[in-house]
Amino acid sequence: MMENYDLLLAILFQLAQLLLVVLLAPLLTGWVNQCQAWLQNRSGAGVLQPYRVLRKLFHKDAVIAHNASWLFRVTPYIVFGCMWLAAAIIPIIAVDLPFSQAADVIALVGVFALARVFISLAAMDIGTAFGSLGARREMLVSFLAEPALLMVLFTASMISHSTQLPSIVDTLAHHQFVLYPSLAFAALAFVIVLLAENARIPVDNPATHLELTMIHEAMILEYSARHLALIEWASSLKLFAYISIGIALFVPHGIIEVGNWAGLPLAIVLLLLKLMLAGAGLAVFEIVSAKLRIFRAPEFLGTAFLLAVLGLLIHFLLGA
């Protein structure tokens, strides 16, 4: 009876988080853009702008190239589904979510990879010069970013002797406070990976459609209306997911167990605070740094990879 109640509660929490992330994600994107606008002292379109964009896109008629195949059409749903799921299994408010049993950090990376492969394939489907160019660049960036991310996660899971995000967070947040030098390296690497994977400056620029530089935008050139909407939504979900991974790994404090009603409000407030800070930080970083040439990007990500491995090695060296 009791554990059934717990399970029910857990599932409730899981569903709550599903809903929360999918609704909150565009807001985060909006917030980042708004911060940038402020920093460039423009007035900005307001934090709700992404919602408006999505609404507009959903109401339009879809235009699809003549030779688009089924792959092209299902991709947005797959990508959206994957990102939603990824964002949903990262403990941001409460730890033991039932679904994170089914997919640990490696699976998480797998989810991202799945979405990436599909969107790259879809980009190549039409056969325009841009699509395949974007796909190639995307895969190029990712084949360096993905292992780096994996290494970052490994550092954490080495510390907590687990690849389950909940247990990682549990170890880092709820046991006695320890300073992990290895995590410092990991954090640095993670930031770079985050920038690269979410098509932010200096690797890519979400705001440009300049052929020579764009990566992510080049892939989705052929999408319109609801498909585009889903993809945009998915990318803001992705940003949300990455930031919450960062939170879970590096500042997990304040995340509660399921059923701890007393801590819940505080946890939510803390989460929002963290998100706002992270978004602002991202905005600042993007403002102050310049876009890299595309062939500098591998070196940039290479450093991330090396940093992550270094972190892991340091963990072995110092045992922390």
Binding site: A62, D125, F143, V309, L312
Partner: protein, 669 residues
């Protein structure tokens, strides 16, 4: 022993005999090729199925042994079917089932005489591989091993009219033979006692070798089997032979034959040798990492789809070798639970690779039939002409890219888990090595995804690069069935890891005396060590993804009218775009070539800006060929020219030889 008194080994024997019958039948049915296609190959596929079942049955059964009245007078053929052989029998049967079904349709167009021979060689190849798995003494092993090599050689050189194919066949059989010599030597080192009877595997198991000699045996075996598996630096034959062979044959070679080499390494290292040393593991690990990265790197820059797959096979062999190395390290340091984990990952991955690599190779066969083109630079847009093939290939591509919830991901997951659990080894250097190795594995996996996106995207997506592709036809019914089975196997292996791991426990029990087990205790969650550490449930995972997708699409359909308008793609203001302006295979590989420049021997001729008919040509060669193989060739030629000086044509000289020989002997004796 079961009630009927029939053992798996007997059944395997019958199936082999049936295969022989089928092969000979093929030889005699040359007049009626359609019979070969529609009866012999399907029957052979059925046999494969039964063989796989037998292997599954044998996993749980006690080891069966048999001595045939064949072979050498004092060394008759010994057969043995234990869990290890059983597992690889499953692999062989499951893969060849799909390939044989595919072949039933694939060879339709082939001339009767050629087809008859090919049928015979094909079955001899299967038999050879089966007997390699069943052999229990050195002589039979060598006979089966070389029969396998010889049969596959003749299969590779089916289109021997083409000089390149002859060259490939030569290289292949030569390296295979050198490897076989090394294997023979390693058996010789392991022989128990003297006399020819010392060459049964049992005698070798009983033999007590000191570390030096057992290391010698291990190194020789690693070299010999590595030559067959395509481990660096003996890999050069692989990218030549695989494209040369007919696609079903490439599928068998890459999917199954390479695994027999893995089987050999496991058999020698864990079964025949009684002691292992820690540095063997480190060696295997390092070699495996090199091979993996090398393979995937070269796969990324290939323009020929079968060469690309061949290099990706090299990569996967590298991963398997890494797994073996890890197993060795754990086993030597007495962490047998972890060793079991690594071994399970290795076996699992070899099974997966057998499935998806066979699928992809037969897929290339279907493409070859539809278009007659192997060069990816002339393909494209086939997804619209060949819905079946492209759909089934997509499964293979996702699987080999290691994406959840398919099978490739499971074995990678297990392997990475093994790495994550490795700390706490007494040797700090190895402890340092482990994270680096894990990083390299992750890198290779990510690159593999890159390669596969290139593979699938360039071949199936985009616009057709040639007009001929406009009327490419889809795979026939037999081909579809064959590919369908392989794809299904990829999905099932991905969704039911718990069951598979449970079966693999028999093998690790036999080799290491330890099992992996499943901490989660239920069939949904795969949790190697304990649920707190790590758990994975592909079933839930897939349900969740599908659920979310359905939910989304339903919502979208509900809330918004979903009209779709077709129109031209956006040409960014340049209306004269043609299909040739798409990204080519070379173009897709270019960043990789740029990043790993030092590893390639690149020849490029770039047209001058004023060239009216500009043609770009770029080729990335294997440096090892120039560093390693050519010198050996030159050395041999040098020696042979020295030997040639003896035969001078002058009879006086010859008489002088006699004279001098006589005098020398008289003086010195």
């Amino acid at each position: 022993m079961n009630a009927v008194g029939i053992l798996p080994l007997d059944v395997a024997g019958w199936l082999v005999q049936f295969w022989i019958a089928l092969g000979v039948a093929g030889l005699f049915l040359q007049r009626a090729p359609q019979l070969i296609n529609n009866i012999v190959f399907p029957l052979s596929a059925l046999t494969s199925l039964l063989l796989a079942a037998t292997g599954l049955w044998a996993l749980a059964m006690p080891t069966g042994v048999m001595v045939l009245p064949l072979g050498l007078p004092d060394l008759p053929f010994h057969l043995r079917l234990d869990s290890l052989s059983g597992f690889f029998l499953i692999l062989l049967g499951a893969a060849s089932l799909g390939v044989s079904l595919f072949s039933a349709g694939y060879f339709k167009t082939m001339a009767g005489s050629t087809l008859g021979l090919l049928c015979l060689e094909y079955h001899l190849f299967l038999i050879g591989m089966t007997l390699v798995l069943l052999a229990d003494d050195a002589y039979m092993f060598m006979v089966a091993w070389e029969t396998m090599a010889l049969a596959s050689y003749f299969l590779v050189t089916t289109d021997h009219a083409i000089p390149d194919i002859r060259k490939a066949g030569y290289l292949y059989l030569l390296i295979a033979h050198v490897g076989a010599i090394a294997i023979l030597l390693s058996f010789g080192v392991m022989q128990g006692g003297n006399g020819i009877a010392a060459y049964t595997f049992d005698a070798m198991r009983a033999a007590q070798l000191d570390p030096f000699w057992s290391s010698a045996a291990f190194l020789l075996a690693l070299f010999g089997f590595g030559a067959k598996a395509g481990v660096l630096p003996m890999h050069v034959w692989l990218p030549e032979a695989h494209p040369a062979a007919p696609s079903p044959v490439s599928a068998l070679m890459s999917g199954v034959m390479l695994k027999t080499a893995i089987y050999g390494i496991l058999r020698v290292t864990f079964d025949l040798l009684d002691t292992q040393l820690w540095w063997w593991g480190v060696l295997a690990l390092g070699l495996g990492l090199l091979t993996a990265v090398f393979g995937v790197m070269f796969a990324a820059v290939q323009g020929d789809m079968k060469r690309l797959l061949a290099y990706s096979s090299i990569e996967n062999i590298g991963l398997l070798l890494v797994g073996i190395g890890l197993t060795l390290i754990f086993h030597v340091y007495g962490k047998d639970a972890l060793a079991a984990l690594a071994l399970t990952a290795t076996l699992y991955h070899s099974l997966n690779h057998a499935m998806f690599k066979s699928l992809l190779f037969v897929g290339t066969g279907a493409i070859l039939h539809a278009t007659g083109e192997r060069n990816m630079g002339r393909l494209g847009g086939l997804i619209r002409r060949m819905p079946w093939a492209s759909g089934l290939m997509l499964v293979g591509v996702l699987a080999i890219s290691g994406l959840p919830p398919l099978n490739g991901f499971v074995s990678e997951w297990l392997l990475l888990q093994a790495f994550l659990l490795s700390p706490g080894l007494p040797n700090s250097y190895i402890n340092m090595l482990v994270p680096v190795a894990a990083a390299v594995i992750a890198l290779a996996a990510a690159l593999a995804a890159y390669v596969m996106v290139k593979f699938y995207g360039v071949i199936f997506l985009g616009q057709p690069r040639e007009h001929a592709l406009e009327h490419a036809h889809d795979a026939g019914i037999w081909e579809r069935i064959g590919m369908g089975w392989l794809a299904l196997a990829c999905v099932l292996l991905g969704l039911a890891p718990v069951y598979v791991v449970g079966q693999l426990d028999h093998v690790s029990q036999m080799l290491l005396g330890a099992q992996l087990g499943n901490a989660a205790g239920n069939w949904i969650f795969l949790a190697p060590v304990d649920t707190e550490r790590a758990s994975y449930s592909p079933l839930y995972f897939m349900l969740a993804v599908l659920g979310v997708m359905l939910l989304t699409s339903v919502l979208v359909r509900r809330l918004y009218h979903g009209r779709v308008r077709r129109s031209d793609p956006w040409d960014c203001g340049f209306p004269a775009q043609t299909a040739r302006m798409q990204d080519t295979a070379e173009g897709f590989g270019q960043p990789i070539r740029r990043i790993f420049e030092p590893f390639f021997k690149i020849e490029r001729d770039v047209p001058s800006p004023f060239d009216t008919h500009p043609r770009y040509h770029g080729q990335s060669d294997d440096r090892l060929w120039y560093i390693l193989y050519l010198p050996i060739k030159h050395l041999t030629e040098k020696f042979s020219s020295m030997a040639g000086l003896l035969q001078h044509g002058r009879i006086h000289l010859y008489l002088t030889y006699t004279f001098v020989t006589l005098i020398v002997l008289l003086v010195f004796v």
